[in-house]
């Protein structure tokens, strides 16, 4: 009798253990991604668009907190807020009123700043068609097992998004860019969040698989800003992103919250606009997708069970003589730069150039007016 109960207990325990291992293995394989990337874009510039920069920086902070390193984040900002002449608190960008949280900080790494935030650069980053001289930090080096989070904010309209008040990107171009990413297997799954007016129009045209999209407002609706700060004088955040960040504050790297919770963020009562989402292109069920699959970077880890037994001693690496020199000189920076020459330089003699078109045209005009007024007979004094 005792042995029977013991056997029963053992079998139950082993079943539970194998189940747990099976669950862990299932977790390992369910999402299918090994690394995370984030592309965060703020498409506005100028002081009164402070809230868009604050939006983007707050999402950047959350994403970094949850584990994605700077090398895997492509941050595109006009970056003209912190050092703007109108900023009463220079070198800061606040996201809560009463200046609670400085999202600019001292370790923000902006990859595309100022006038580099263009539609062309954005599409180049997404499709990977960058010139060969582009440094690694400005590239999206994702592979077929990367989950990418794309966040766009700014001013938008029905079917387009305005970039820095001078150009626009249409929803067709965006959908084509995602299709090119899919063709080259540059992502495993992609989460697209947009916080602009009529944001839902931007994801209408998507047609590639494994895309999930969220927008802050439907077509015909405006996304509204949250709260102005009277000391700074502008609105600090947009509503949708504000409540999105409140939601993300509760997420930690081991959290099990899923996408269905994210869809409930900022209902109409809080946001005034109706947030929308699109999941028909996504292969997995949104309820099984963790927030940390996109916003965080939880690494899969395997224990190294095998080692290799190495024999033999280490070969000492010898410094080989080059041209008879046996010692390498240690280089010092100051000696390499001819500082004294640079400081005491004389101004360079500029070569003489013939007068260019403007001066010539001006003189021609003056001469013509003179001869018109006083008659052509004065010409003979010249020729």
């Amino acid at each position: 009798m005792k042995t029977l109960t013991l056997l029963g207990l053992l079998s139950v325990y082993s079943l539970a253990a194998s189940n747990r291992i099976h669950n862990q293995a299932a977790q390992f394989f369910s999402s299918g991604h090994t690394n995370n990337w984030a592309v965060l874009v703020c498409t506005s510039r100028f002081w009164f668009n402070y809230r868009h920069v604050a939006n983007t920086l707050s999402v950047y902070r959350s994403v970094k907190r949850l584990g994605i390193p700077d090398s895997h984040i492509v941050l595109m900002l006009a970056d003209d807020m912190a050092c703007n002449h109108r900023n009463p608190k220079p070198a800061t960008v606040f996201s809560h009123k009463n200046m609670e949280l400085n999202v600019y900080g001292d370790d923000v790494e902006v990859d595309y700043r100022g006038y580099e935030v263009t539609v062309e650069n954005f599409l180049r980053v997404l499709t990977g068609r960058l010139p060969p001289s582009t440094p690694r930090s400005k590239r999206l080096l994702s592979d077929d097992r990367s989950n990418i989070l794309i966040y766009l904010t700014g001013h938008g309209g029905n079917g387009f998004l305005k970039f820095q008040d001078s150009e626009e990107i249409s929803n067709v171009e965006l959908a084509d860019a995602f299709e090119q990413m899919w063709q080259k297997r540059r992502y495993n799954e992609l989460l697209f969040i947009i916080d602009t007016c009529q944001g839902a129009s931007m994801y209408e045209r998507f047609y590639s698989p494994n895309l999930m999209a969220l927008a802050s407002s439907q077509v015909g609706e405006d996304s509204l800003s949250h709260q102005p700060d009277l000391a700074i004088g502008v609105h600090l955040m947009d509503r949708y992103t504000f409540y999105l960040l409140e939601f993300l504050e509760d997420i930690h790297p081991a959290s099990k919250a899923n996408m269905n919770d994210l869809f409930k963020v900022c209902p109409k009562s809080q946001c005034v606009s109706t947030p929308g989402h699109r999941t028909d292109l996504f292969l997995r069920d949104p309820g099984s997708v963790l927030i940390t699959d996109f916003f965080g970077s939880v690494r899969k880890v395997e224990l190294t069970m095998e080692t290799i037994n190495l024999t033999g001693t280490i070969v000492q690496v010898e410094q080989s003589a080059v041209n008879g020199e046996l010692e390498k000189e240690t280089l010092t920076y100051v000696d390499q730069l001819p500082v004294s020459e640079i400081i005491h330089q004389k101004p360079k003699q500029k070569d003489w150039h013939p007068p260019d078109g403007f001066i010539l045209g001006l003189w021609t005009l003056i001469l013509m007016v003179f001869f018109k007024t006083y008659g052509i007979k004065h010409l003979k004094h010249i020729f």
Binding site: Q24, R299, I308
Partner: protein, 562 residues
């Protein structure tokens, strides 16, 4: 009156000639000048590439040792048999495996080699006799009573390209050659699957073309763990010292890399270029607090918490990689004096012997305990020389896994030779070369076909000459690679596949192919109407006037006739 009609005629002629000039000269000129330059692409060849029919050929030599064949059977050997295995993966991809098996008897020198006491020595002396080319195998069939292999082991897989196969008990008394061959066939197939290519490996390598539903968990783990084929890799070794006040660490990384890692990388040179660098980081802690386990008297890290270790460390690692190649990071962490010794425990609370873990497509971390290097009354900081042999053993194993050398368990009855100091057996290299070649070919074909489709779909993209050149070179390299695979020349096939993938990537990612030329129709009208309408309206109106006057005249003529 006639003057007016002459005037009118001149006017009509002028209007007609202007209309003629506009239509005959202007419209073609406008069409030609607003055309986008598109160089010629070999579209038909690209379409052909869409249907991929790969044939992989392997040469196998089966050598019968003395005692395995009877004299009558020996007369019928030497013999060559070919075997074809066809698999259809999906409607565009099909695979065919061709095994060309040559049977022969052993030479006297080979018999001497097989008379060695152990299998490892036999393997070594057999290798000195002949060098088998890349992609081929030699299987030596030894009699059942041979003492080379232990009792329960039937197959010994050597470090080069040889295997020893023990004949089964049924073949003891004289049977016909056909029965012997039929008996050997399943065993041979198993050996081939282990040592050259198996269907699961090849279909996993085709994952770029075919998104298959996941097979068994091992294959998914393998495909997720290994880096994808790339022309180069960057390897970074980092020493993390969180406690420089207690430990002064010295590691001879240059010598260790030169002795232990470089031979492996030199062997892998046909696959990719490798660049190695190393760094030391101070005051970098692991992001997780280890727990003190009083039963063992040491600090432990649970396997669940390992996943959160990597992120805080990665932010500090930095990299000086100038290319876009994938980076493999190998970290050696020496725990601080307050948390020494530190051991990693798996989910069953068992200690992990290697004290190391790795993350798919990222790299590995090893924890190195130094508390036995000094006594309890040591004066801090203590000078410590790290034992690089042990460390490199672990890193080499992790490097093998991350580069795609499969770690699948061998079938029952197989004995694998222990890993040599190079870290890679020749047949493992062949396996890797096969799967990489297939992967390169699959990736290059999808890249080229999707590029052709993209350029076809979007009529506004400019196709420069250099892109057309790259595409043509990619297509020709692909055709050559497929041909070489069919012929069984693995080395050349890999080289051509690498060229193909480089050319196709360069063509696809050329910066000039950015399509920003989506113009909605209303914008097109908005641009052309102010340009053409003011010019066309007078012409059209005058033409209409001419036509209406001609009609009136004809009516008058008809009326006059009547």
């Amino acid at each position: 009156m006639s003057g007016i009609s002459k005037e009118r005629k001149r006017g009509q002629l002028a209007a007609l000639s202007i209309a003629a000039v506009v239509i005959i000269v202007g419209v073609p000129l406008w069409w030609k000048t607003t055309e986008t330059y598109r160089a010629w692409l070999p579209v038909s060849q690209i379409k052909e590439l869409d249907i991929l029919q790969l044939q992989l050929s392997a040469d196998v030599e089966v050598v019968f040792a003395r005692g395995t064949v009877t004299p009558e059977q020996q007369k019928k050997v030497p013999l060559t048999l070919t075997q074809d295995d066809e698999h259809i993966v999906d409607e565009n991809t099909s695979l065919r495996y061709k095994y060309e098996t040559k049977y022969r008897t052993a030479t006297i020198m080979e018999e001497d080699a097989l008379n060695q006491p152990t299998a490892a020595e036999a393997d070594l002396s057999l290798h000195t006799l002949s060098e088998s080319p890349c992609g081929s195998l030699v299987v030596y069939v030894i009699p059942e009573m041979s003492l080379l292999l232990p009792k329960d082991v039937d197959v010994y897989v050597g470090q080069r390209r040889t295997a020893l196969l023990r004949i089964g008990a049924q073949m003891r008394v004289g049977r016909t050659l056909e029965q012997l061959l039929a008996h050997l066939e399943p065993r041979l197939k198993q050996v081939l699957q282990v040592m050259s290519f198996s269907h699961t490996d090849i279909t996993a390598a085709l994952s770029d073309r075919v998104r298959l539903s996941p097979g068994n968990k091992d294959s998914i783990a393998d495909s997720m763990r290994a880096f994808k084929s790339s022309p180069g890799y960057e390897i970074t070794f980092s020493l993390l010292n969180p406690d420089p006040q207690s430990h002064r660490l010295h590691w001879d990384i240059e010598g260790a890399v030169e002795t232990y890692i470089q031979p492996l990388l030199t062997k892998l040179a046909p696959l990719a270029n490798f660049s190695i660098d190393s760094q030391t980081l101070y005051y970098t802690m692991l992001g997780v607090n280890p727990r003190y386990d009083s039963t063992y008297g040491r600090y432990t890290l649970n396997s669940d918490s390992l996943a959160h270790v990597i992120n805080p460390v990665e932010a500090r690692l930095g990299s000086n990689a100038a290319s876009s190649n994938p980076v493999l990071n190998f970290l050696l962490y020496v725990p601080d004096a307050n948390h020494s010794p530190l051991h990693i425990h798996d989910s069953h609370k068992q200690e992990v012997i290697s004290n190391a873990f790795h993350s798919p497509r990222w790299g590995g971390i090893m924890v190195y305990n130094v508390n036995d290097f000094h006594g309890p009354e040591a004066v801090f900081p203590v000078n410590i020389n790290i034992d690089m042999t042990k460390v490199m053993g672990v890193f080499l194993a992790q490097l093998r896994l991350l580069l795609g050398v499969q770690s699948s368990t061998p079938p029952p009855g197989f004995l694998m030779a222990p890993c040599s100091s190079v870290g890679l057996a020749d047949w493992e290299l062949d396996r890797l070369m096969w799967s990489r070649t297939v992967e390169n070919v699959a990736t290059a074909t999808t890249t080229i076909t999707s590029l052709a489709q993209l350029l076809d779909q979007i009529g506004n993209i400019v196709i420069n000459d250099n892109i057309a050149e790259q595409v043509s070179s990619a297509v020709s390299s692909l055709q050559l690679a497929v041909a070489e695979l069919e012929a069984g020349n693995l080395g050349f096939a890999l080289q051509y596949s690498k060229e193909a993938i480089l050319a196709s990537e360069r063509a696809f990612f050329d910066p000039s192919l950015l399509h920003l030329l989506y113009f909605p129709d209303d914008q097109k009208f908005a641009i052309y109407i102010p340009l053409f309408l003011p010019m066309c309206v007078p012409i059209l109106l005058s033409l209409l006037k001419i036509v209406s006057e001609a009609r009136k005249k004809r009516k008058e003529k008809l009326a006059k006739k009547d």
